[in-house]
């Protein structure tokens, strides 16, 4: 028979691991599906106008008869898998009931998804009942094809593979029954779905029984290592003698209804079945994906299922697990179309800490190790400033897009060099000046650049923070490693905004003072003169008590009006109408501006702006456009920073180089 799009296909066990994927696959291909599930599992299925959910049990012949109305073909997946007391009733009796119901409705075509366990020399209840079900179905006179998949993997939450994954992520030592040399051919769940549909569409498969497996034959130890490699964990294995495992499974079966390990599990994972998928591949035209690629695809699918999105995912990693590195790493878990594939830090003790936070991705001790081991599309560099330059170059050499926490480097010259290199490489680049993604600053800038204030005359910019209230230690307070103090490391946020708002100044006159720090400045006062005649002042300090949250404010005035930005507010005072505002004073609050769809990791610290910034970087990488905080803009801001230092050192005004 040829399966038409209009043909209704019934799936038993549609809410199980393979069943859910098969439902999705059939719906993707445009088929109509009836999902036959137990009532409690109905909510596990998607909603679609081409999906009918019929609830019941294989033993309930009335429900089965009702569900089969109008059905053209059946994929039979329902089974008891854990040696339950009613395994015979469900697996064998269910097959008999299904045959009877199909006959009653004139349905001839049935694909039976069985198991490699039927081939074991010594079978448990699962293998035994599934073998008997195969016999019932193939003797029925219906047009039956049986598939016997090896270990099926994919985004499962409860099956054998899910348990392996759970052990790998949660346990320091993974118990393995047997010597770990038991061999299987793991197959991705989507390949099983493809095979089922290929059978339904190909009458030459009627009456056949096929082994179904992936291209990689691996031992149990190798399978666990492959899972570990995909997830970024290495675990020791504790091999438990098969006899002891079997004895334990028998005991567990007596004392608990849902034992963690069943007799069938032990028998199935200690006796080889020599799965040979050659015939299936030839007959069905399905070429299963390799294990490593399949596991990667599985992790991609999990991201898409969680956050939506489509197409290839951007593979991103974070270098440096300090405060900002953790912040960005966390945000990458919430941004659609990106998969977080690794963290790098030279401190190995951070590996377990990061893992305990929930950053369950491969950890590397160096950027080189990450780039050698993984395909990485984008890297977020959150190391101390002195390490930025080499890290950016290494990423560009590997063709990876780069985001760098501010400041870009310790000097404008080095920053400019990286900006030039970035453009030559044709890669996306951005610096972490997140305030450029604050809706209030974004709106203020648009007002300035759209000429709403008329010809600009002056501005006042200020930044206050209670960050350094006494002598402090660390790389940031060592100018040879940080490239400076307050101006380079914190006020750079403000300097960047000024560059973004007003362009580059022609002259800078600055004074800096040391309040608490012996080697770096804690405050700055500067006057910036622009070619247009605009003059502005900058006052910043990180030694202001009572300011636990950094406050950044900009006031600007022109011949048509003025604006002031502070916190969540933008005040606009116009002498002439513009941008939809009339003459007079207007308050624009952050709540007046677009704010949907974000994840806020602390609004006081610019949390939503961080989300927008990282989201913008991901989009820029995927679409190939320039982020607003690109290296060249940052390098221009850093020229102003260099000029501030030069002016403060010389005691005269200087022109940014």
């Amino acid at each position: 028979m040829t399966l038409e799009k209009t043909d209704l296909v019934l799936l038993t066990g549609a809410a199980g691991f393979i069943g859910r994927d098969l439902v999705a696959y059939l719906l993707e291909r445009g088929h109509r599906v009836t999902a036959f599930v137990r009532p409690a599992r109905a909510r596990d299925l998607p909603t679609s106008d081409r999906l009918v959910i019929a609830t019941g049990d294989l033993r309930d012949r009335d429900a089965l008869a009702l569900a089969l109305a109008g059905v053209r073909a059946v994929a039979h997946l329902a089974a008891r898998k854990s040696d339950e007391p009613d395994s015979v009733e469900v697996n064998v009796g269910g097959a008999e009931a299904l045959v009877e119901a199909c006959r009653a409705h004139g349905i001839r075509r049935l694909v039976n998804v069985s198991t490699q366990s039927v081939k074991l020399p010594r079978r448990g209840a699962y293998g035994e009942t599934k073998l008997e079900a195969e016999r019932v179905l193939h003797r029925s006179g219906l047009d039956v094809t049986t598939l016997r998949p090896s270990v099926v993997y994919g985004p499962d939450v409860a099956g054998v593979f899910a348990r392996m994954r759970h052990f790998m992520t949660r346990l320091p030592v993974v118990p393995v029954i047997g010597d770990g040399q038991w061999r299987s051919r793991p197959i991705h769940v989507r390949d099983v779905s493809r095979a089922v549909v290929a059978c339904l569409e190909n009458d030459a498969t009627i009456g056949e029984i096929y082994d179904l497996g992936g291209p990689d034959e691996v031992s149990m130890d190798e399978l666990l290592d492959a899972i570990g490699a995909a997830l970024g964990v290495r675990r020791r294995k504790l091999h438990i003698p098969a006899s002891a495992g079997l004895a334990a499974a028998h005991v567990l079966a007596r004392i608990t209804e849902r034992p963690p390990v069943t007799v069938s599990n032990v028998l199935g994972s200690t006796q080889d079945t020599h799965c040979d998928p050659t015939r299936a591949i030839r007959a069905l035209g399905v070429a299963p994906v390799g294990l490593a690629e399949g596991l990667e695809g599985m992790l991609d699918d999990e991201v898409r299922a969680r956050l939506g999105g489509s197409g290839p995912l951007l593979k991103a990693a974070v270098v440096g697990l300090g405060k900002m590195g953790l912040f960005h790493a966390a945000l990458l878990h919430r941004i659609p179309n990106v998969r977080f594939v690794g963290t790098v830090d030279s401190n190995p003790s951070l590996r377990d800490t990061a893992w305990s936070m929930g950053l369950r991705v491969p950890f590397f001790r160096s950027l080189d190790a990450l780039l050698a081991a993984r395909r990485v599309d984008a890297v977020l560099i959150c190391t101390p400033t002195f390490a930025h330059y080499a890290a950016v170059r290494a990423c560009f050499a590997r063709g990876a897009h780069v985001f760098v926490e501010k400041p870009l480097t310790e000097s404008a010259a080095r920053s400019q060099e990286l900006a030039t290199l970035a453009d030559q490489a044709g890669l996306v680049h951005a610096v972490g000046y997140h305030l450029a993604y604050s809706p209030v600053f974004e709106r203020a800038r648009a007002i300035v650049t759209d000429g709403v204030l008329g010809t600009l005359r002056s501005f006042r910019a200020a930044m206050q923070h209670a960050e350094v209230l006494g002598p402090k230690k660390g790389w940031m307070f060592d100018p040879s490693r940080s490239g400076g103090g307050l101006v380079r490391n914190t006020a750079s946020h403000l300097i960047f905004l000024l560059e973004w708002f007003f362009g580059s100044p022609a002259r800078v006159d600055a004074k800096t003072t040391r309040v608490h720090s012996p080697s770096i400045e804690d405050t700055v006062s500067a006057t910036l003169e622009y070619p247009s005649g605009l003059v502005g002042t900058v006052d910043a300090s990180w030694s202001v008590p009572g300011k636990p949250i950094m406050e950044v404010g900009i006031e600007a005035s022109g011949d048509r009006g003025s604006l002031a930005v502070k916190g969540a507010d933008l005040w606009l005072d116009l002498r002439a109408p513009g941008d939809g505002f009339g003459v007079g004073r207007h308050r624009i609050h952050a709540s007046d501006l677009p704010q949907e769809g974000v994840y806020d990791l602390a609004p006081d610290a610019g949390g939503a702006a961080y989300y927008r910034q990282d989201h913008g970087f991901v989009q820029a990488c995927r679409e190939g456009h320039r982020p607003r905080t690109a290296f060249d803009v940052a390098a221009r801001a850093e020229r102003v920073i260099d000029a501030i230092y030069a002016s403060a050192a010389r005691g005269t005004s200087v022109s940014p180089a």
Binding site: G546, Q595, Y599, D600
Partner: protein, 270 residues
């Protein structure tokens, strides 16, 4: 804390105060400013407040508690202060500095309570570390008659984004079982949190989250938050109800009433 318990005598919205911003007020230690805070609390009949401990505001908060019987509920841990110290003393050093500042009895109690978690402490397990910080901050609030302990939104939202439900579950257990108080989770992502808590089967005593007619800070969207509120049976204590003064008190309270929220937080001294 059940929804019914949190209602005012008239079934109206009870107003609570948010104190963390008072230490940003340059005049806060002055007697005149303290009197103004007290007047504001009296005027609105506010009997309880939330506060994140900062040593500089200790005296002011203690005075408000003593003069007005104000119950002061902790917002813990003070991550900003911790991160500030961590940059000077290291991650572990910052924790030990806090431990050393405790009274001997509290040191012994916390040490005994954490003995069985020693392997996690040594492995720098994040959840264990956060809960240790929570335990070290709670003794300061003992004399302030707290009824509820709020997990700092920056911690909740960090745990939430990384699916770290163990931290949220353990926090709820620690506060309710060990200290006998209501465990509340602060968040700026209510729509996501409510849905994930239901999926994880984690049920805190309350959630502190922004709810206001402008939808400000109601992430991922006001519609998602309102929908999640209808589907959740965990009490919500609304914050940011007046949106920096853009919403009048009556309008803010009407909005909360319409959603069935019975407690709202206003920022003192704004």
């Amino acid at each position: 804390m059940s929804r019914a318990e949190s209602r005012g005598a008239r079934g109206d919205v009870e107003i609570l105060a948010w104190l963390p911003q008072i230490q940003q007020d340059p005049d806060f230690p002055s007697p005149a400013r303290q009197a103004s805070y007290a007047g504001e609390l009296r005027q609105h009949g506010i009997r309880a407040a939330f506060w994140m401990h900062e040593p500089a505001a200790d005296g002011t908060v203690a005075a408000l508690h003593e003069r007005l019987g104000l119950a002061v509920n902790p917002v813990v841990p003070n991550m900003r202060a911790y991160l500030r110290d961590a940059s000077d003393y290291g991650v572990v050093g910052a924790v030990f500095r806090r431990f050393r500042r405790l009274r001997l009895a509290d040191q012994v109690r916390i040490a005994l309570h954490n003995v069985r978690r020693a392997p996690q402490v040594l492995a720098r397990d994040f959840s264990t570390g956060v809960l240790a910080m929570v335990e070290m901050e709670l003794p300061r609030f003992r004399r302030l008659a707290p009824a509820c302990v709020v997990l700092n939104a920056s911690v909740t939202d960090f745990a939430l984004i990384l699916d770290n439900h163990r931290l949220l579950r353990d926090f709820a257990r620690l506060v309710s079982r060990t200290h006998g108080l209501t465990a509340a989770l602060g968040t700026y992502n209510y729509g996501v949190l409510a849905e994930r808590l239901a999926a994880w089967g984690v049920r805190p005593g309350a959630i502190v989250a922004p709810f206001n007619p402008r939808g400000y800070l109601m992430n991922p969207s006001p519609e998602d938050c309102e929908r999640a509120l209808k589907e959740s049976d965990v009490e919500v204590i609304a914050s940011h109800i007046e949106v920096d003064g853009l919403i009048g008190r009556q309008e803010a309270l009407d909005y909360l009433r319409g959603l069935g929220i019975h407690r709202g937080i206003v920022e003192l001294g704004r």
